[in-house]
Symmetry: C2
Subunit: 441 residues, 2 copies
């Protein structure tokens, strides 16, 4: 604030805070409508929790690596009531859990909700990452164990949602944390958490790097590492992956349970096109709170592009907020990331600059009342109508309609009488028409 | 952050950051849909500018009384690129002006846009005011003089919008700054700005208080004060107010122009129900940037409740951002304020807890695939359908449907065969039905 900004600086985009022109905002709005329609078709309800939380709610104790934005009052005064430090939410999951915990007695469980909301991350400006973005989450939260049904339904909803907005095809990789942990337990690995963390790097550092880390950090021998990597290599389109895991000869109760769950989920997803859902036993999802099925989706056409949807089952996300356990399962879709990528790839077709169907022209000395009433009549019949804002030469009005891509221009009669006419902007056909009955051909 | 919050404190509402239960969020979503539909029916396009601006864009030089929230990165590091201080927008007008100025070459003028977005004000916690709220703006911005047409159209759109969401009746008071300034000029008052500021207090301090201030601060004599108060007393439902102003015998060119504009606007609004639009020559709207028609709307039933919509014409809002003049006109609707007031008054009927039309029950040993396919068939026909998440005793499922207010419960046949049946939750009638053809009566 010490140096004044020039007018040019004031107009400069802010890195990480994307903005759309109206013709692309129209597409984004259509996306939001379609997503909402898919989520509601499964009976999910919208909630929109406040966008700020106390920092202590967003950060678990000892959690110091979160890039979040705190907010501060410019006019704060020492005499004001003391408050916790608040921050903008960086995702929908923790705020949802807080909302559910705060409204326990007013919700029906299993509570199925969706959110389509902005979130913020306090990224470093030079990193070029999104700092304000639109995210969309579907979750089920219950007061008792979440039925396995949802492990299969949640990715189906996500798949339909992404197809509905034309952002597919995605490939969703699926795994189950119980399979990983149970398999490691069967191998006698006690520190499953760290094993998962290391295996999660397979993509980046390869089998050899993972092997080295497993030896150095967990002291595993060669045979065990081979078994660990053997599991991570298993991928497949259907429930048959379960047989291949069993063929590795490792057993434990938790593994049994995880494989049963994975079998159910993959069997339910077999009906989708090949490649839409792939069991991948190397997938772990970084977040510590997942406890069962996990999901991770990428663009099928851009496999190197980062994950665009992710989620899974968590047994106790809100554990420190309420005495009751609140298990849940859900998926999050990174809308801004998807939109920006598809836009860069030329796959987003701009909408119109305005929603207008018909421009009612005002020219040839037509009385203002007649122009207004013509627009009103057409509007009352469900058309989106602009009344041109002044009596002006025709060319200016046609140019306006052309620039905005308005498909029809309507001409009311002049003061001397005559008939209404309507012109098709594309074909340039102009015909007599009655505003009370006209329908586009 | 020094003292740890207890779990109970973490769940406490934050003063000024309202949250709705799903059944009220459903109503809010319906409001947003209806508002959007009205705005689009007039050809207005949606934009959603970023929610943060540099503080210097939000605050004019010397502007120190704005309660705004600045944002700060928790993980900021001295090695990060220096940036201006950013703040959350406190309304839609300045950010819209910045957006228009930054995208001049990609927009078609007159640019008609609406925004339905959250905004934030850094109010003192003890004041109980909204600090996060939903606001909705319609504006027209042009690169040349805004045609008078919009002075009449903008309040009509606002009226329709408020009626569409069932928040009416409102009374919109209308005046014109040119009338005020022109009238004062005709009286020889040179400091019109301060006269307007004083007259704006008429509601609060009465005619006597205003008279005292006009004497003390502007040195006006008794006759002039009488004339000033005479103007402020004029109110009326139609264009006849213009005659009453003229009858006061004051003249100036600016007054003439203002009266012509006011006449046009009131003539256009005469067709609405009595009391919907009232010319009130005492209305000034506090904001310095208004230059012509101004609007101020209150609940007709709660006249003491503060203004819920306001706006007007501004000749040069973005003047310091671009070399070109960008005049505009618009109205802002305080959705959160309206919603909260109507809720307190018991005028908002809760929606359902979920959008679900049909719960497909899973009981009597029906095969999972059949239950899922039944739900799928009904969903593909446009119904909003929940598949009950496990084979469980019927009572639990009916209780679930009852609590959520789901109007239909569907029973697929059991493993042994039989027919599909559907139960009307309200009438308890249960009949045989085919998921591929059933329609609610």
């Amino acid at each position: 604030m010490s140096s004044r900004m020039t007018p040019k600086e004031k107009l400069r985009p802010i890195s990480g805070f994307p903005e759309l022109l109206p013709e692309y905002r129209m597409v984004e709005l259509e996306w939001i409508d379609k997503l909402r329609s898919v989520f509601e078709s499964y009976g999910f309800a919208s909630i929109e929790p406040r966008t700020v939380e106390p920092v202590e709610v967003l950060l678990k104790q000892g959690d110091t690596d979160k890039e979040i934005y705190t907010i501060g009052r410019l006019m704060a005064d020492p005499s004001d009531k003391a408050e916790p430090t608040y921050a903008l939410h960086y995702d929908m999951t923790v705020p949802m859990a807080r909302y559910v915990a705060a409204n326990m007695n007013d919700l029906t469980f299993p509570f199925k909700r969706y959110q389509i909301q902005k979130a913020w991350r306090g990224e470093r400006p030079q990193d070029g990452r999104f700092r304000e973005f639109l995210q969309c989450d579907v979750d089920v939260v219950d007061t008792r164990e979440i039925p396995l049904h949802f492990d299969a339904e949640i990715p189906v909803i996500m798949h339909e949602a992404v197809e509905a907005i034309g952002a597919g095809p995605l490939t969703t990789k699926i795994n189950n944390r119980k399979v990983l942990e149970g398999y490691y337990a069967g191998l006698g690995i006690t520190d499953a958490g760290n094993a998962i963390r290391i295996i999660d790097k397979l993509d980046k550092i390869g089998a050899k790097g993972v092997g080295t880390m497993l030896t150095e950090e967990l002291g595993l021998d060669g045979a065990t590492i081979e078994k660990v990597l053997g599991l991570a290599e298993i991928q497949g389109n259907d429930a048959s992956v379960v047989q291949r895991v069993k063929a590795l000869g490792v057993t434990s109760e938790l593994l049994e349970q995880g494989l049963e769950e994975l079998h159910f989920v993959m069997r339910e997803l077999e009906r989708f096109p090949e490649g839409a859902f792939v069991a991948d036993l190397s997938i772990a999802r970084g977040l510590a709170y997942y406890t069962g099925t996990v999901y991770e989706a990428k663009f099928a056409d851009f496999p190197d592009f980062p994950t665009v949807c992710g989620g899974g089952r968590y047994d106790n996300l809100v554990g420190d907020l309420v005495s009751k356990r609140l298990p849940g399962i859900g998926i999050s879709i990174g809308l801004t990331r998807i939109f920006a990528k598809l836009m860069r790839e030329g796959r987003i077709e701009a909408g119109r600059k305005a929603p207008t169907d018909i421009l009612v022209a005002h020219t040839r000395g037509a009385p203002y009342d007649l122009v207004r009433e013509t627009a009103h009549t057409l509007r009352s019949r469900g058309f989106k109508v602009e009344q041109y804002h002044e009596d002006r030469k025709l060319n200016a009005q046609l140019k306006y309609a052309g620039e905005k891509g308005i498909p029809w221009v309507w001409f009311p009669p002049s003061e001397e009488g005559g008939e209404h006419q309507v012109k098709n902007s594309a074909s340039r056909d102009q015909v007599a028409a009655d505003p009370a009955t006209w329908m586009p051909e």
